[in-house]
Subunit: 500 residues, 2 copies
């Protein structure tokens, strides 16, 4: 057996082990009784430890070097070369982090999560601040181990969006911000849109049935996936053929389950769409969190909150909840589900204001990592930026700087991927329509296969062959840019709000 | 750290890895979409492989030998000595089996299961026979690797019932058989009992609700376990604090879900009842499959099919299904749920005939392993024994020698544990009542804690400290015997069938 084949076999084992860990995580969120928590943490820790040890073992290094020698000289477009590039990158990252640092982060984040929950309950940043201090320090060590050219935030960002620099994000956000602020201002000046009709009584069984019908139509393959209830919606997968999403329900807030389900389905379609020939190889998988989010946002917002979509599905929705929406026409419903309202909580933000929440966090995180912003000063800085960006002031820390779970997991550098994915969703959709002009017509007829096929070919099947910046360039012939997203928002929301 | 402590830490890791495998198995049965099967098999194979490698690694051997040296001279009742006895036994067994043999069995049983399903569908033993031939050959190799004193079946049986010999089983069955045959004959001569009332309409939601209510009363701790639907009922656990049972429903056959649920709860109470101080150590766990089955049979039959039990629960059952059982008094119901009827299928057998099904298999397996019975002759031999033991002839292989899954998994030697557990259930219950005479009074009042506490102390908390024969002796002051079971059956069923 060649070194290359032996390496791939070894990595497949690690991959299947990681899949086992993902099953345990899914069960933890969906079905595990409370008593199981401690043993579950131990099982997950053992799996992580073994997977990490196998990843950085001398044998892995030997096989990787041998495989690199075997294929030296082949074209970089050769799948083997692309595979080894991914493996080398992952190996170097894993090998650069000392086991002691990984263990320290694991310990601190396990405690950190509990501390964050408690601090948020008490709405008191000072209870969480010492943890943040330690996690920032550990994250700076991570950045230094991974390496950077002066800006530690580059190294952190690179963990989630390979190859993307802080300056790239700043450029995109710099283009995006003035347009968003102007649109928010215009919407604020327009007659308000009400979403009261979305707060009527929608029984959970009906919401579940309608959601499943919708995502089946979008292309979610229930023979290779399933949907369950969980406290937090998420998508996880154990290979391309077992992709699971979760949903939560609010009887009196229709969008929570429905739009959440479509969002997670966007993630799931990506996971179900990797190339079968890449199964269990390093090429199977999302190229970045930003690309992942581009798929969820595209299906949730560009498709799922479109007028065409509701022209198709609104009669079904009315039939699903007899008597509930008889007095509401589709235009009123469409406007309600696209209501714009600057609000405190990121995860509840509308399409127009969402990225402003991310910009705030991006700026805060850079200042926290560099040390320019003292941890004790985070609440004041947060609130000032909220006033600046969204014109509102959080009444307390729980609804301000304590709202997100990410910092308790030391995930500094993660937030920007949400906004990158958001702007990518519009850039990709624009390109899809340019290449396949029938797509809007098909969507208006409730046919989603044309769009899905395009995404399968351009985004899903390439898997991890290309880094995100390369993939955007290959698909769109240009780098990630925010013009498409601003154009999409302006066209849509000037219509929704009847701004001339 | 001492060798002993290092060994225990290492075995805990293997244990947590095995728990992860059990979670994957549970999910496979309960929730996995069909597409996930292949990747799931790979994940399970990797976990098994790593766990096996860790179990027989030089490091494990070194630590075990070091630990044995450290504690040499301590009393055998010392928990460390009892722990090392379990570890040594498991290590020797695992180390004796060559990896190539384990892999061959793994491959053959994976294919074997499909072949068996197909052969059973076609009701054609000859389709399954070549597989059985190979699995018998592999099982003989296993027996020879594990070691025996002339009878290979001893070595196979020992895998499931440590320390028990073929001759022990034969002795117990020899005592049991004439009594069973006599009772079956007397019942056949008595006026028949009908179970038609159990075939009325019982909606699934009502069955689920009633079953959960019952097992909660019995002591199943839902904070440390849960119940789900599955094609086959089973109990699995991921440590003492996450024990899961499954149930299947037949709208027109009440006992399937209800008595199955109580049966699995018996297994679950054992798993939830191990000593907390033994968590993740080799002492936590069932001492044998026979003891496991004694717990399920005790709760299902001795408790759950007793007159006292139904005097308590029957009004609740009637209320759960309004109008369905209004015309049926508790005595009629009690007799129906204890109907005796020699039948073809083991898993549907009543308390009186059940062990006859096992004796048949025990005798068949010995002859198959020794080679005295050719694989091609299995159907004829099976049918002859069915006529001899139960007075009925299977009309086809599907309802005869193809009915059980066990041989497709090379589980020769497993069946006897069902009968050993059955007779133990009566022996243990008799001893419990002798030591705590209040138990029958408590059961008649619907109080189960007294019985459960006794089982916790005598059976559950000892875990794997004692081999099954030692544990029976410690608890009952005598070896396993069938008199108690025969006495229980005669008293109960001569009353049910009003035989003077």
């Amino acid at each position: 057996m060649s070194n290359y084949d032996a390496l791939i076999a070894r990595l497949a084992e690690i991959n299947y082990l990681a899949q086992a860990g993902a099953v345990l995580g899914w069960d933890h969120q969906c079905y595990m009784p409370s008593g199981g928590a401690q043993a579950r943490a131990e099982s997950l820790a053992v799996i992580s430890k073994i997977a990490h040890e196998m990843s950085v073992a001398d044998e892995t290094k030997r096989l990787l070097e041998g495989a690199e020698a075997e294929i030296s000289g082949v074209d970089l477009d050769d799948d083997r070369a692309l595979t080894l590039r991914v493996v080398r990158r992952n190996y170097d990252k894993a090998a650069k982090l000392p086991t002691s640092l990984v263990a320290a982060i694991s310990r601190e984040t396990a405690i950190g999560h509990e501390t964050w929950v408690h601090a948020r309950e008490k709405s008191d940043w000072s209870l969480f601040a010492p943890t943040v201090e330690r996690l920032l320090d550990l994250s700076r060590q991570v950045a230094d181990c991974l390496g950077h050219t002066g800006n530690r935030y580059d190294a952190l960002l690179d963990q989630y969006e390979p190859g993307m620099k802080t300056a790239d994000v700043a450029r995109v956000f710099g283009e995006l911000r003035p347009g968003l602020v102007a649109l928010v201002k215009d919407i604020a000046a327009a007659p308000p849109v009400s979403d009261d009709i979305l707060r009527r009584d929608f029984d959970e069984a009906g919401q579940l049935a309608f959601g499943e019908k919708v995502i089946r139509r979008l292309g979610f393959d229930f023979t290779r996936g399933r949907q369950d209830r969980a406290v937090h919606p998420f998508c996880t997968s154990f290979g391309r053929n077992d992709v699971r999403i979760t949903t939560r329900f609010d009887k009196n807030w229709l969008p929570m389950a429905l739009m959440g389900t479509i969002h997670e389905t966007g993630h799931a379609l990506y996971e179900q769409g990797f190339d079968p020939k890449d199964d269990a190889t390093p090429l199977s998988g999302a190229t970045s969190l930003g690309f992942h989010e581009s798929q969820s946002r595209l299906w949730e917002n560009i498709v799922g909150r479109s007028r065409a979509f509701w022209n198709v599905f609104y009669p079904d929705l009315q039939a699903q909840f007899p008597g509930t929406l008889d007095d509401v026409d589709v235009d009123t419903f469409y406007r309600a589900i696209n209501r714009v309202d600057p609000s405190l909580i990121r995860v509840e933000a509308d399409e127009v204001t969402y990225c402003l929440h991310i910009m705030l966090r991006f700026e805060m995180e850079q200042a926290m990592i560099s040390g320019d912003l003292a941890v004790a000063d985070v609440p004041a800085a947060w609130n000032e930026k909220m006033r600046d960006y969204l014109g509102i002031t959080p009444p307390n820390d729980a609804e301000g700087c304590l709202q997100d779970v990410h910092w308790s997991g030391a995930s500094f550098g993660y937030f920007p991927t949400y906004a990158i994915g958001t702007i990518l969703s519009a850039q990709l959709f624009e390109k899809a329509v340019a290449e396949k002009p029938a797509i809007p017509v098909e969507l208006a007829a409730g046919e989603f296969a044309g769009l899905l096929d395009w995404l399968r070919e351009k985004v899903h099947r390439p898997g991890q062959r290309y880094q995100p910046a390369e993939l955007v360039q290959r698909i769109c012939g240009e780098p990630a840019q925010s013009h498409s997203y601003l154009k999409y928002l302006n066209e849509k929301f000037r219509d929704v709000y009847q701004i001339s």
